[in-house]
């Protein structure tokens, strides 16, 4: 049963556990590949993670002159192949979300590969495994559909994936304000 990374932005508590956990994936050489931002730091404590959305037609891979960015059969957009990456940084410019990071010492791009050693076998990536607030979840399409039925926003939309973003993404993102559609128990 295929599972996807699903983000419920409203849940984020800014703990950065996803950043710490990213370094713990065996394939990540102790470097984290994701981001957490303070949305409005002088005003409140709202934070949000910025993860690779694993685009169906990824700009990073399209922009790569060396075909160093491969797409796994699961849809995960992998980190640049060490032997192919020429360090041109096209991908870091092309990505609309600023996801790929660049190692200037090794002249090499690196990015989220959805912990491919885990996710290829259906095991959640490290970030979604540890996320204490369930901002990052690892769900089946049925579970995501159930979420979609449960939450409705007043603009009729519930995910940011379309049409606001670059194109269809394998990772689904839920908008802040998701609770406004919930019926209270009493």
């Amino acid at each position: 049963m295929k599972k996807r990374l699903y983000l419920e932005l409203e849940n984020c508590i800014g703990c950065r556990s996803c950043l710490a956990a990213c370094t713990q994936c065996g394939g990540h050489e102790q470097r984290n590949r994701n981001y957490v931002y303070d949305v409005n730091p002088l005003v409140n404590r709202q934070t949000m993670p910025l993860m690779c959305l694993h685009c169906v037609n990824p700009a990073c891979a399209r922009s790569c002159p060396a075909q160093a960015i491969q797409i796994h059969e699961t849809g995960a957009v992998l980190s640049a192949l060490v032997e192919k990456c020429i360090g041109c940084q096209n991908c870091t410019i092309a990505c609309p979300y600023g996801i790929p990071k660049f190692d200037t010492e090794q002249n090499l791009m690196y990015k989220c590969d959805l912990c491919i050693d885990r996710s290829k076998d259906g095991i959640p990536p490290m970030c979604a495994s540890v996320c204490p607030s369930n901002t990052l979840q690892w769900l089946t399409d049925e579970e995501i559909e159930a979420k979609q039925k449960h939450f409705t926003l007043d603009n009729g939309k519930w995910v940011t994936s379309m049409p606001y973003l670059e194109g269809d993404t394998n990772v689904k993102v839920n908008l802040p304000g998701i609770l406004q559609g919930v019926t209270k128990l009493f």
Partner: protein, 726 residues
């Protein structure tokens, strides 16, 4: 019989990843009372811990960890570890990191035995003291109590729970007659209809509770949060009661008054299962929403709305933490909020009850088994001759040999200052950062004739020691810990002790031998030996662990105390039979007159200073400040100031200011945020030396729990660089 193995909607069968040449050791985190399950990754060639893997099959936290948990393993083989005993011959260097030389265990033990014996010969047995902590296993906590009373034969032992859980303990004992931090398992929390959370920055201090908290709202339930700051949990609350620091009791009384007035009192429950209702009803009448608002600064509509939601909720859980407990009326605050559950009868059934978020990893177990100045194993009282007799039988001493009760943690520093106490054995704690009124505490430590510190890093407190004994981290020993639910769980050993470090129980048994008290300790060769004696010592007490064998803990995913014998599965839910632990079986609804904080703001010190934690650090920071990731995320303390207040003082974001009180001062970077009251400033307390906010805090103690008032005192800000303004 209650269901023993709980599998809730968050539990998923997930296979772990185990890399080649690695093995996974199941255990729990080193830090807070959540005790998140984790697997430590151990390299099978070097036999060293090299990483962490989620423990998806742990029912409480299902693989989740906060950033402290994810990086906790980095403590074990950290370059800062102390690998050999250290001796400092030049006492004039006390209070610095200078002058320590490496020594053998033999030399260190001999020196300690000589100095301790000399001091006791000259000044009496009680000239020695033990200051302990509860970030360690029940076995170690238990043996530390025995070590003080049997090996050192002193009355003066106390522990850092006085800065952590003692108010919760006092409040629960008064209200229920028993002190188990949660009346229900954590797997109930997301199924309740209303969470009333007071004085808990849950998202930062107990982050792995958050997926359950959010789920209550996702189901359409309510979240009410009482906090002077709009913390990440308060940001999403249905009602945020943004009260002035130190005014919780007024809020609790105000809400109780509304619950009674608006017909939410459960008269049947009150009549059959409680005492004290009428008197309390009279007392809280005065606390109208308007009067409560005057004291607390919370808008009357919010108080009314909160009471309405809690009253209407079919099931609700009242939760609280250090925010209400670290006050000089902390015990009253606990009983005050607990009144809400007792008056409405929302307790003694699944999905309803009262819980405190235990701070330290073993804050629950560590306070039950005899590290407290007046307690013995099993929550027995040292002033109760029957209790003393029961423990003496296990220890092999006569009741006459049992020392008298001592004094609380902060009061021990006062006795050091006046030379009643001249020697100290410090372990598992860092009071040179964590105690209030640091200028006084550091002076007291410096003035000691002889001090031993057992720790795995050279903490700020170790800087005052004559001898430092290298202990192991949590991952190099085994034993049990009792988490914030009251669930006894097992910590497993993943690596052999680094260098010459040893577990505290072994150090104490060996030192007892040197002190001529070996016959009471020499049979304790392994952690399991200590565990067996400890279970026996707790047998028959309120906190009965006798039936909680290590095998049962493994089979059942932990055992909730009380657990009296081999056939007893333990007690996940307390009071299901509506029987409380007072002699008449009834709980106590407490009439609690309001008292303001010990130090109220005035013209000279117009601001309210409150302190707390950040998600990246644990307690005094002795462990977490050494972990690169955590240090990068939060390298130094700061003072949170509301923009309107900052404008008054003409100070800007990220500017350094002088913050001062009647007791001390420090310089902090300003963090401007609207997420705090205008009359309040906040500083995290994890930092040492000149950055410690406890240089400023007040040592006003709760009369019952002896908890200092960390959460409220009067302060003032001064701009540092006047030139910069012009």
């Amino acid at each position: 019989m209650q269901e023993v193995k709980i599998r809730d909607k968050f539990f998923k069968e997930i296979e772990n990843v185990c890399h080649p040449n690695e093995t996974l050791i199941k255990t729990h985190c080193a830090y807070c009372g959540m005790q998140c399950g984790m697997n430590l990754r151990v390299n099978t060639k070097t036999n060293k811990i090299i990483g962490v893997e989620p423990r998806y099959d742990w029912p409480v936290t299902v693989g989740k960890m906060c950033p402290k948990g994810v990086t906790a393993y980095q403590q074990t083989n950290h370059p800062d570890r102390i690998l050999k005993p250290l001796i400092r011959d030049d006492a004039s260097l006390k209070g610095t990191q200078e002058g320590f030389r490496e020594a053998t265990w033999e030399e260190a033990y001999d020196l300690i035995a000589k100095k301790f014996s000399e001091l006791q010969a000259n000044y009496g047995k009680d000239t020695l003291s033990v200051f302990s902590g509860v970030s360690m296993t029940n076995e170690k906590c238990y043996l530390t109590g025995k070590f003080a009373r049997v090996a050192l034969q002193t009355r003066y032992i106390d522990y850092n729970g006085r800065f952590c859980m003692s108010s919760a303990a006092g409040g629960f004992l008064r209200s229920f007659g028993v002190d188990r931090g949660s009346t229900l398992p954590w797997t109930d929390i997301h199924e309740t209809d209303c969470l009333f959370i007071a004085g808990s920055n849950t998202a930062e201090c107990h982050p792995t509770s958050m997926f359950r908290v959010w789920h209550v709202q996702e189901r359409g339930g309510y979240l009410i949060v009482a906090d002077p700051r709009e913390t990440p949990i308060a940001r999403r609350a249905d009602v945020h009661l943004d009260l002035r620091p130190g005014t919780d009791l007024a809020l609790a009384n105000g809400i109780l008054n509304l619950l009674i007035e608006n017909g939410y009192a459960d008269e049947e429950f009150i009549k059959n299962h409680t005492n004290g209702f009428e008197e309390t009803k009279e007392l809280v009448k005065e606390f109208t929403p308007e009067y409560t608002s005057q004291i607390t600064g919370v808008a009357p509509e919010k108080i009314i709305r909160a009471a309405e939601i809690y009253g209407k909720a079919p099931n609700a859980v009242v939760m609280f933490a250090r925010g209400i407990e670290q006050q000089h009326k902390g015990v009253d605050n606990v009983s005050g909020y607990t009144n809400m559950a007792l008056v409405t009868g929302k307790i003694g059934r699944p999905k309803a009850g009262v819980a405190t978020f235990t701070g330290q990893g073993n804050g629950q177990g560590g306070r039950e088994h005899g590290q407290k100045s007046d307690l013995l194993p099993g929550y027995r009282k040292i002033t109760n001759p029957k209790h003393v007799e029961e423990v003496c039988k296990v220890w092999g001493i006569t009741p006459e040999e049992m020392p008298q009760p001592g004094v609380s943690a902060y009061e021990m520093f006062e006795l050091m200052e006046e030379k009643t106490i001249r020697g100290l054995y410090l372990l598992c704690s860092n009071p040179a950062v964590s105690a209030p009124n640091q200028n006084f505490v550091r002076k007291a430590l410096k003035g000691l004739d002889f001090m031993v510190c057992a720790d795995f890093y050279l903490s700020e407190s170790a800087e005052f020691a004559d001898v430092i004994l290298p202990t192991v981290t949590w991952s190099e020993d085994e034993g049990t810990v009792t988490n914030l639910e009251g669930r006894i769980i097992k910590i497993n050993k993943a690596q052999e002790p680094l260098g010459e470090s040893k577990p505290d129980w072994q150090i104490q048994a060996e030192l007892a031998e040197k002190l001529g008290r070996g016959k009471y300790f020499s049979h304790l060769k392994t952690a399991r030996d200590v565990a067996d004696e400890f279970r026996l010592a707790s047998k028959g007490g309120y906190a009965d662990y006798y039936g909680a064998t290590w095998d049962k803990i493994d089979e059942q995913d932990g055992v909730f105390w009380p657990c009296k014998d081999e056939d007893d599965p333990g007690t996940p839910h307390m009071f299901l039979d509506k029987k409380f632990y007072h002699p008449d079986g009834k709980a106590k609804i407490c009439a609690l007159p309001y008292r303001p904080p010990a130090e109220e703001p005035d013209g000279e010190f117009p601001l309210r200073l409150t302190t707390g934690r950040v998600v990246f650090h644990y307690l005094s920071g002795n462990q977490t400040r050494r972990i690169q990731f955590l240090r990068d995320m939060c390298p130094e303390p700061y003072v949170e100031v509301h923009p309107e207040t900052a404008a008054k003082y003409n100070i800007e974001h990220e500017e350094y200011v002088r913050l001062f009180t009647r007791r001390g001062e420090a310089e902090y970077k300003v963090k401007i945020t609207e997420a705090i009251r205008k009359d309040t400033v906040f500083v995290p307390y994890h930092f040492g030396h000149e950055k410690s906010i406890n240089l400023l805090t007040i040592a006003a103690l709760d009369p019952m729990s002896r908890m200092p008032e960390f959460k409220a005192c009067a302060a003032q800000i001064e701009k540092l660089d006047m030139k910069k303004v012009q």
